[in-house]
């Protein structure tokens, strides 16, 4: 009983702390930047975070199994390019099939990582560092220096970033934001409701115990990588719709943004714990900081990246200390 209490409680507290941090950030910048608390700023931050959110969700799944997927930046680029190229030739493809195509390409690329990590037993950091370079090089070779341009894409895709899904209290929620959020909601529900999905936690928190419990750990890890790839495919599609112009640098460095969102969102790098609500808040927090710093007069361009790095480190440090003291508290209670 105490054990369960000790396990759930810090998680919830962690989420509350994260949410408070987000509120504090927003409040702080609202005193610094004119017309900060505006519907426009809401749209700016949500649409920008929506590109990163799917890969952050995928990254979280992989990190929960004690692995890491560094290849997603290149996957986003390849999916955006290939999907764009296909659409340039077959502009009449239905939106649903386009989405399936993007997810499928991403999943196939994730499956390569999954096979090597889960069945080849190669450490994920090595495998995905390899495919990060490999996928990017493939894109460079394949693209032959040709750019996918907005003009070659079907109009519905180019217009997609401006389309409103619905409005709440005067705040516009764009379709791309709904797409990004749906990834987090589906995965979040699965992780809390589905027995199959909960195996991800089991494998991450104690692989040996999971094995003894009859869980096919290799298959769980494989599926996590496939999902990460498919979600990178979704990011790639949103990227294509939002920026239209796809070159070989598309998605470059996205893996770091995803890792930042995941870590700030309270997913333990040691595996086995974390929640999708945390990932969403983490993703929004990182993006809010980034978008706010560019509009803040006090910080020059050159300090922005450094400050963002420091804030991320601070978030992780606070989080580590907090969870450690909470665990100690829990252990004391357990001993009593």
């Amino acid at each position: 009983m105490m054990q369960i209490f000790g396990k759930i409680h810090p998680q919830t507290l962690r989420l509350i702390a994260l949410f408070v941090a987000l509120l504090a950030t927003v409040l702080f910048f609202s005193t610094q930047i004119d017309s900060y608390l505006s519907p426009r700023m809401f749209t700016r931050i949500t649409t920008s975070a929506a590109v990163i959110l799917p890969i952050a969700v995928g990254q979280a799944l992989v990190v929960m199994t004690r692995n890491i997927d560094l290849s997603i930046g290149s996957t986003v680029g390849v999916v955006a390019y290939l999907t764009g190229e296909f659409l340039a030739a077959h502009g009449d493809l239905s939106p649903l099939l386009v989405a399936l195509l993007a997810l499928g390409i991403g999943a196939a690329m994730g499956a390569v990582n999954g096979v090597l990590v889960a069945y080849g037993r190669v450490p994920s950091i090595i495998v995905t560092l390899g495919t990060l370079a490999l996928y990017r090089s493939f894109l460079v070779q394949y693209s032959d220096a040709k750019t996918i341009t907005t003009a070659s894409l079907p109009q519905w895709l180019v217009d997609l970033p401006q389309v409103n899904a619905f409005s709440v209290l005067g705040l516009e929620v764009r379709v791309t934001v709904v797409l990004g959020l749906s990834a987090a909601v589906v995965m979040g529900l699965a992780l809390t409701r589905l027995r199959a999905a909960r195996r991800i936690y089991a494998v991450g928190s104690n692989p040996d115990a999971a094995l003894m419990a009859g869980i096919n750990a290799a298959r769980v890890v494989f599926v996590a990588f496939v999902l990460s790839g498919a979600l990178a495919g979704l990011s790639g599609l949103i990227f294509l719709a939002k920026f239209g112009n796809i070159t070989v640098v598309a998605g470059l460095g996205f893996e770091l943004k995803a890792v930042a969102a995941v870590v700030v969102g309270g997913v333990s790098i040691l595996g086995g714990s974390g929640s999708m609500i945390g990932v969403v808040i983490g993703c929004v927090l990182v993006d809010t900081i980034d978008n706010s710093l560019t509009r803040w007069d006090l910080v020059s361009e050159f300090w922005r990246d450094a400050l963002l790095g420091m804030l991320i480190m601070a978030a992780v440090t606070v989080d580590t200390f907090a969870s450690r003291s909470l665990r100690r508290l829990g252990a004391q209670k357990g001993a009593q």
């Binding site: 930047i33 426009r40 341009t149 070159t247 070989v248 560019t294 361009e301």
Partner: protein, 347 residues
């Protein structure tokens, strides 16, 4: 239109100055063997592939019996990759490495070592800022005159007065920084521009999403902003898309340096009515020609030498006004694109 003429006039003036020197015009000696490498900032960029086309054209014309390679690093490894590839080219005893430098002065020691080992290093598009280790720089246009063109495009699009901001590539891109400085000088020195106010310079690091977000950041931060000047082909498209997405094209115009094929829809719909660029095919052609003549000994690489660079006509080595002690060959001119000529160029 006005601007195109200005560009031509500047180049013509430079040409006239050159011909008054009355030096002997050196001709290339075709049919010799020089192994040459063209090294772009990184692979997969349209303009660098155009330069490759130009270089191949020159190689054919000169009947070079040596090898020609077009190779470069992948995007995520640009600076370190360039240094590594220059080192490899040196150990392979290549005759010339033609490089669009993306590694700042970090590449200077490697370039100096290459020169010592007998491999010439010619820069094009983007030079080595200190000029160390570089035989000479083939400049696409006079960096000072780009400043004037940038200022003029802002002047046109802002209607002569108002606020504008610059969206550049990376904070350490030698070429963009030089152009922005040149533009600032022009703004300060000519009374014509006294009503233009430069609000900010931000960097999108030649990434679509960063450039897109920076462009929106500028619009939010400076409510009176009239023009975003993006002297980078990635930045200008991203900024134009951002303004289009946010339906701001009537209020904020985008201008800068862009590729017609990527810009055509934004020029036609008024989001980016005017932008400029030079021919990268010509730049690659001239770079190859110059490098070949340098490696075969026709050119010594000294200031004042004049030479005939095939279809580009007579060129001259002069002192680089932006980099004391460094030498350059000036190509020019650039073309200003607007709705009258962009569609033809995009094909």
């Amino acid at each position: 239109m006005k601007l195109t003429k200005l560009g031509v006039a500047i180049t013509m003036a430079a040409g006239l100055l050159g011909s008054t020197a009355m030096a002997e015009v050196i001709e290339a000696k075709p049919g010799q063997a020089v192994n040459m490498v063209l090294l772009p900032k990184f692979l997969g960029v349209a303009v660098f592939d155009q330069a490759d086309r130009g270089a191949q054209e020159a190689a054919k014309e000169l009947g070079n019996t040596g090898t020609y390679q077009y190779e470069g690093p992948t995007p995520e490894n640009s600076a370190a990759g360039q240094i590594e590839m220059l080192t490899t080219a040196t150990t392979q005893k290549q005759g010339v490495v033609m490089i669009s430098n993306n590694a700042g002065d970090q590449i200077a020691p490697t370039a100096e070592a290459a020169q010592k080992a007998g491999t010439k290093v010619v820069t094009w598009d983007s030079p080595i800022p200190s000029g160390k280790g570089e035989s000479l720089f083939v400049a696409q246009v006079d960096f000072g005159s780009i400043g004037t063109v940038m200022a003029d495009m802002v002047y046109d699009e802002a209607g002569g007065k108002g606020e504008f901001a610059v969206l550049s590539a990376s904070p350490d891109a030698a070429n963009q920084n030089a152009w922005i400085d040149a533009m600032k000088k022009v703004l300060a020195s000519d009374a014509k521009y006294k009503d233009l106010k430069l609000d900010d310079v931000v960097y999108g690091n030649d990434q679509s999403e960063e450039s897109y977000n920076r462009a929106l950041g500028l619009v939010d931060k400076y409510p009176n902003l009239k023009v975003i000047m993006a002297p980078t082909t990635v930045g200008i498209v991203a900024a134009a898309k951002a303004m289009q997405d946010e339906k701001l094209c009537d209020k904020v115009k985008v201008s800068g340096l862009g590729l017609p094929a990527e810009m055509v829809s934004y020029t036609m719909n008024g989001c980016a009515p005017e932008f400029a660029l030079w021919s990268f095919v010509d730049l690659g052609y001239l770079t190859y020609y110059t490098s070949y003549m340098l490696a075969t000994g026709s050119l010594k690489g000294e200031i004042g030498e004049e030479f005939k660079a095939g279809r580009m006509g007579t060129m001259k080595i002069d002192a680089d006004p932006g980099r004391p002690g460094a030498k350059r060959v000036l190509m020019g001119p650039f073309t200003v694109y607007n709705k009258d000529n962009v569609e033809a160029a995009a094909k």
